[in-house]
């Protein structure tokens, strides 16, 4: 497509990640644009249905437990089950984790395995460093397969941490399928709601870089411990 103002078109393109100036074939998109859209969707779907490699978990010395749901279809249909832990997981946590830690780190694939694969190697050491800088101690970190954010309540009931930080894959978009969120809760226990949690979202190389996010989390957690609260009522 030849534009009336080609330089103007470049300015518009630079101003937005939206797919503009794409041209057309009659009323339909061009072949290249149509296939690119399908390719990006394929990457997003693969990320939802993918799983985190044991290599990554071994490398960071994270052991893994299941949520109440092991099947991906059921995981998508029943968010309530992703918030619960089966007896076998509860037993494993009791056996292997430090009880009542100051900070409990939990990782889950959530809706994007890609988000964990591409960000965890960067955010995890940065998070540990920033906790150390703040003089905070972390409990025994672990990975939960197919968890929802609300699973932090079930974990809180078992391990009784002061603060929990959950690194979890976000629902993938087409611009990136690799976005991760860090959810924070002060004294997470049954009954804690979204409004009592805090979230640092959009963590990926094109958003908040994971190293930066990890470094920021330590001071956020220190502030929560100081004020003994988390959520919308915490003024930052």
């Amino acid at each position: 497509m030849v534009f009336h103002d080609p330089e103007g078109m470049e300015r518009l393109r630079k101003a937005t990640p939206a797919r503009i100036g794409t041209g057309r074939a009659g009323t339909r998109p061009t072949t290249r644009e149509q296939l690119q859209l399908r390719l990006d969707h394929a990457a997003a779907v693969d990320s939802v249905y993918g799983s985190v490699s044991s290599t990554l978990l071994d490398e960071l010395e994270l052991f893994a437990v299941d949520s109440e749901v092991t099947d991906k279809e059921l995981y998508l249909k029943r968010p309530d089950l992703g918030r619960q832990l089966p007896e076998s997981s509860i037993r494993l946590l009791r056996e292997r984790c430090i009880q009542a830690p100051q900070v409990q780190i939990v990782v889950s694939d959530g809706l994007s395995a890609d988000a964990i694969e591409s960000n965890l190697r960067d955010i995890y050491p940065a998070l540990l460093d920033s906790l150390a800088v703040q003089g905070l101690t972390a409990g025994t970190p672990f990975f939960v397969r197919k968890a929802r954010v609300g699973c932090m309540n079930a974990i809180g009931d078992i391990l009784e941490p002061e603060v929990i930080v959950m690194l979890i894959g976000e629902r993938p978009g087409l611009i990136t399928s690799r976005s991760m969120s860090a959810y924070l809760g002060y004294r997470p226990r049954s009954g804690m709601t979204d409004s009592q949690r805090m979230v640092l979202s959009n963590i990926h190389q094109g958003g908040t870089p994971p190293v930066e996010a990890g470094a920021h989390l330590g001071s956020l957690i220190a502030r929560m411990l100081e004020l003994r609260m988390s959520g919308v009522s915490l003024e930052l």
Partner: protein
């Protein structure tokens, strides 16, 4: 009221209307998540058969959510034309379906005015997809803001120029692209990332500026929470429409931070201080499953609750009602089959209650659906006479992270089914040289003409 049936050698008993209504639905993951869905297809059919023999008076005298405890129920009951209701109260739901399918357009309008939202939902439960299309296609719902929408032969479109940081040029870039495809006649409506009064004021001014500069016959809207819009409008920001998402129960609305009184205040404000010329000043959005998601469903199925959103919306004479059908996720609508069904149901239930229904034909990446499914649903809805679609560059919303219909898709459906944008906007687009005799010209698709 008979709530039992014997079917294929088994007898079925439904304890109340809530249970019957839920089990008579086509399969939806949201009803399953709520634990109220039929156990299998036979039980589903048993429920449909029992429902078909209930009268409209049975439904009205056994409210699913009593008006005494739910203000949405009160609004719905006040919206029923009692004179009409008296003439149809003895019909069974099965008869209602047949009457709706056989009625003339004017008769259909009359019947619709005598229904409450539960009756409209009950009819939908007995209808096939083609029934839903056929009945809805007979409902012409015309609304007026700055421009007119909903006339037969017209297919409106919202330009949805969202941007991940509300960047002014980035937003305008998508508006220019939309206009160059003849998109934006229903509304230029942006979903803001930052829900602060100052930001909403800025976005209202910026959208209005584009409209003024090019003399575009349309209306603007910024889809922030209604209270933020009210603060912006009170400070003099130019808004043609005021927006809010609705739920079908009082507690659902509470979780959205609204109630009837707040909506009435907003209504008064937009009528006194809005910038539009016509009488229809609201833009509502809805979608099956939001009440369950908000913990405010009271054991009522998601189809019926969606219908109740329309009963509530009706009281405010909206310019646009949009069901964002595939946005909520797979725990409510699992796959393309469920989304297509829900889109047709919502459109029918809204239209029969007299609402200017548009549909955001859309899906998220964790649903079992893709762009081909949206192609299908868009054509079905256009055949059903949908008032408008949502237009997003190449269908990919780079802020909300979901896929809807593209500018290309809307232009294609218009060409296929010989539909035009709204009359005033069409004349403008012809004058601008984007359309000629309703078709895209060689100039179409070039956003730089609007820089």
């Amino acid at each position: 009221m008979k709530l039992t049936v014997s079917l294929l050698g088994e007898s079925y008993l439904f304890h109340d209307l809530k249970e019957l209504f839920a089990k008579a639905n086509e399969e939806k993951s949201g009803d399953q998540l709520a634990g109220i869905a039929a156990a299998d297809d036979r039980e589903r059919m048993a429920a449909k058969l029992v429902l078909a023999d209930l009268t409209l008076a049975d439904i009205r005298s056994h409210p699913l959510l009593p008006p005494e405890t739910d203000e949405v129920s009160r609004v719905i009951e006040e919206g029923v034309d009692e004179t009409v209701y008296e003439t149809i109260r003895s019909w069974t739901v099965g008869e209602l379906r047949e009457q709706l399918l056989a009625a003339s357009e004017s008769e259909l309008r009359r019947i619709g005015s005598g229904l409450n939202s539960e009756m409209a939902a009950a009819a939908a439960k007995l209808m096939s997809n083609l029934d839903l299309i056929q009945a809805a296609a007979k409902c012409e719902v015309i609304t007026r803001c700055n421009t007119t929408l909903g006339e037969r032969g017209r297919l409106g479109s919202r330009a949805q120029p969202n941007h991940p940081t509300d960047d002014p040029l980035g937003m305008k870039a998508s508006i220019y692209e939309a206009l160059s495809y003849g998109i934006g006649d229903a509304v230029i409506g942006i979903n803001p990332v930052i829900d602060t009064t100052d930001n909403i004021i800025r976005l209202l001014h910026e959208t209005k500026e584009v409209i003024h500069r090019w003399g575009i016959p349309t209306q603007n809207s910024v889809l922030a929470h209604v209270t933020t819009q009210m603060r912006a409008i009170s400070k003099g920001a130019p808004a043609d429409l005021i927006f809010q998402s609705l739920a079908g129960t009082q507690s659902g609305n509470q979780s959205f931070g609204i109630d009837l009184r707040l909506l009435q205040e907003a209504d008064q404000l937009i009528r006194e201080s809005g910038t539009a010329s016509g009488e229809n000043r609201w833009y509502f959005e809805t979608g099956q499953g939001s009440e369950l998601s908000a913990g405010g469903h009271h054991g009522v199925d998601q189809l019926t609750l969606e219908s109740r959103c329309y009963g509530l919306a009706k009281a405010f004479k909206p310019f646009l009602v949009n069901t964002v059908v595939g946005f909520i996720g797979p725990e409510y609508l699992y796959d393309s089959k469920q989304v297509i069904r829900a889109g047709l149901e919502d459109h029918f239930m809204g239209k029969i209650q007299g609402l200017p229904m548009g549909v955001d034909v859309c899906y998220t990446n964790h649903m079992k659906a893709d762009q081909n499914d949206m192609d299908n649903l868009a054509v079905l809805l256009a055949a059903a006479g949908v008032n408008f679609f949502i237009g997003v560059p190449m269908a990919d919303d780079c802020m909300l992270n979901y896929q809807s219909t593209s500018f290309h898709d809307i232009a294609t459906v218009r060409e296929l089914l010989r539909l035009q944008p709204g009359a005033e906007f069409s004349a403008w687009a012809e004058k601008m040289g984007i359309l000629k005799n309703g078709r895209l010209t060689a100039l179409a698709g070039d956003p730089t003409r609007f820089i």
